[in-house]
Amino acid sequence: MAVSSLSKPILKVENLAMYFPLKKKLGSRERKYVKAVDDISFEVQEGETFGLVGESGCGKTTTGKCILRALDPTDGKVYYKGRDIAKIPIKSIKPIRRELQLIFQDPYGSLDPRQSVYSILKEAIVSDHKFHTRKEINNRVEELLNLVELDPDIGYRYPHEMSGGQRQRLGIARALACSPHLLVCDEPVSALDVSIQAQIINLFKELQKKLGTTYVYIAHDLAVVRHIANRIGVMYLGKLVEVMDSEDIYDNPRHPYTKALISAVPTTDYYIEKKRERIILKGEVPSPINAPSGCPFHPRCVYATGICKKEMPNFKDIGKGHMVACHNL
């Protein structure tokens, strides 16, 4: 797209891979790996939201953590503001540590059950190891709570005394305490009630407007991603199969897997719903330990041909920044 080619990307991922070694079986010589993320590349522009969708277990969380260097990727490059941070020693990441933050999939697990709201936020504020007066800290805590629309009186509560939505707001406030430039939101609403999901998503949008933070928004809900993201990447079994502008995801999906995903989303419009072509995926998602050869999607793909079994399709641009990995395009 025109905009993306003009501005400089804040994040550029090249051939990122993360393999988790499995325990060797007795007697077997070769070590097996879970290829959680396998050779993916994408760019995120400053101030944009990049949506990452895919089924459970396809490697979204792992991708997110590798970008932030919460995990050490096996291979590939992660350029953050032009500097590759994938392989540099963990010490030299310190100056930018706080610019890269994560919102967790499970808000409860991300909060220390023994810390009060105030102490969680205070820790995040003072962890920049600069000097803060008590008053500064208190003001900042109040400011953060206001930012995520939590009542300041909640300061003395503990995570188990809060609702799911409040916990996630607190998680967001903690991330914001570091003034992040890049925020990875890992399915931030999937653990919440539907009624609260919308509130949190709107909070994310508002915060982006106010603070100009760049988001990588991970989800498996297409409608949500379509609503919040500028560009969307579709993952399947550790691989990125399609990257496109978010308008295109309903109007012009090209990869067979994306099409199948779209066809699974019901719409509220009766006539469209009647005409909707439903592609039912056959078979199970293969395990990332024994990923199929060639195109990872071929065992379930209705368009698969001979070459699909043998060769991994290239990730190619089919115009206007729309990237697809499929032999049949």
């Binding site: 310190k94 706080r98 499970d106 820790e123 962890s127 206001n146 503990y158």
Partner: protein
């Protein structure tokens, strides 16, 4: 701009905070004593033993050492409530001083063992690589030596005094703590809140102290009460075997072993200290259970 302008004054907030911490304390006490009659009785027993241990010189007119051969082997009577032993010493007095010895060795050894064991467990669990393997292999090595043999060899070196025995029993309790804490830390360090603390730039040792230590605290408490009981038992066992605290010190273990000789004629000589030992150890472990629940914020209000 702000949607939630603070409506409460600072005074009100302070008041509220006080109220909250008061409520929390009350809640903790409620959970602790809310475990039924059993727990209350056991708590009472432990407190009674502690009070007796502290105030025994005031509670009895006799000395635990003063012999009187004409008063040998008395059965319970008005002067000597529980009777006297083979040397004419007042049994109740000796039991009271024995409680002092048991509790002091139990506490000294457990505090010392817990301090070292928890530190090693935390370090081993949180550091990857050399420290982790080195510490855990040392712990395994010590576990492979039966603790009774371990203590019997070391006590002559450090001296058969209360401090010496406490020190050695403490050493023998390190592996138990270390393994317990190690296993806990291994699972805790994968928790999202530890990752979150890393991401906000918190220092490693601070994560250890501020997140891991508080979250293993209930485990420490329960291991501690269990290990006080175990240490008391170990001390009694050593005294019984004659390698620990020696007579005339009124250690329960040596009282059992001395009284044992007269078991058929005067069974109370061995039975009283044995009974005290049993009562104290059972009560301690039940109190430990209650403490663990009271200290766990997640369990609070759910029992």
């Amino acid at each position: 701009m702000n949607k939630y302008v603070a409506e409460k004054t600072i005074e009100e907030r302070k008041q509220e905070k006080k109220q909250r911490s008061l409520n929390a304390t009350r809640e903790m006490i409620r959970v602790f004593f809310g475990r039924g009659l059993y727990a209350k009785i056991c708590f009472g027993i432990v407190v009674a033993f502690i009070l007796v241990a502290i105030f025994c010189p005031l509670l009895t007119p006799y000395s635990p050492y003063e012999q009187s051969l004409k008063d040998q082997f008395q059965t319970p009577n008005a002067k000597h409530w529980l009777g006297t032993d083979q040397l004419g010493r007042d049994l109740l007095t000796r039991l009271m001083y024995g409680a002092r010895i048991s509790l002091v060795t139990g506490l000294v050894s457990s505090l010392w063992g817990a301090f070292l064991g928890v530190t090693l467990g935390l370090i081993a669990g949180y550091s990857r690589g050399f420290a982790q393997h080195f510490i855990m292999r040392c712990v395994d090595a010590q576990l492979s030596i039966p603790s009774i043999i371990f203590t019997m060899i070391l006590i002559p070196i450090f001296g058969a005094t209360i401090l010496g025995v406490g020190f050695v029993i403490g050493l023998s309790s390190i592996p138990g703590y270390a393994r317990n804490i190690y296993a806990q830390v291994l699972s805790l360090r994968e928790q999202d809140y530890v990752t979150a603390a890393h991401l906000v730039g918190q220092k490693k040792y601070k994560i250890l102290i501020r997140h891991l230590l508080p979250n293993v605290f209930p485990i420490i408490i329960i291991s501690f009460t269990v290990s006080v009981g175990a240490a008391i038992m170990a001390e009694a066992g050593l005294a019984y075997l004659g390698v620990g605290l020696n007579p005339p010190l009124p250690a329960w273990g040596s009282m059992v072993s001395e009284g044992y000789k007269y078991l058929t004629i005067y069974p109370h000589l061995a039975m009283y200290p044995g009974f005290c030992l049993m009562l104290l150890i059972i009560s301690l472990s039940i109190v430990g259970d209650g403490l663990r629940d009271a200290l766990d914020p997640k369990l609070r209000g759910k029992l």
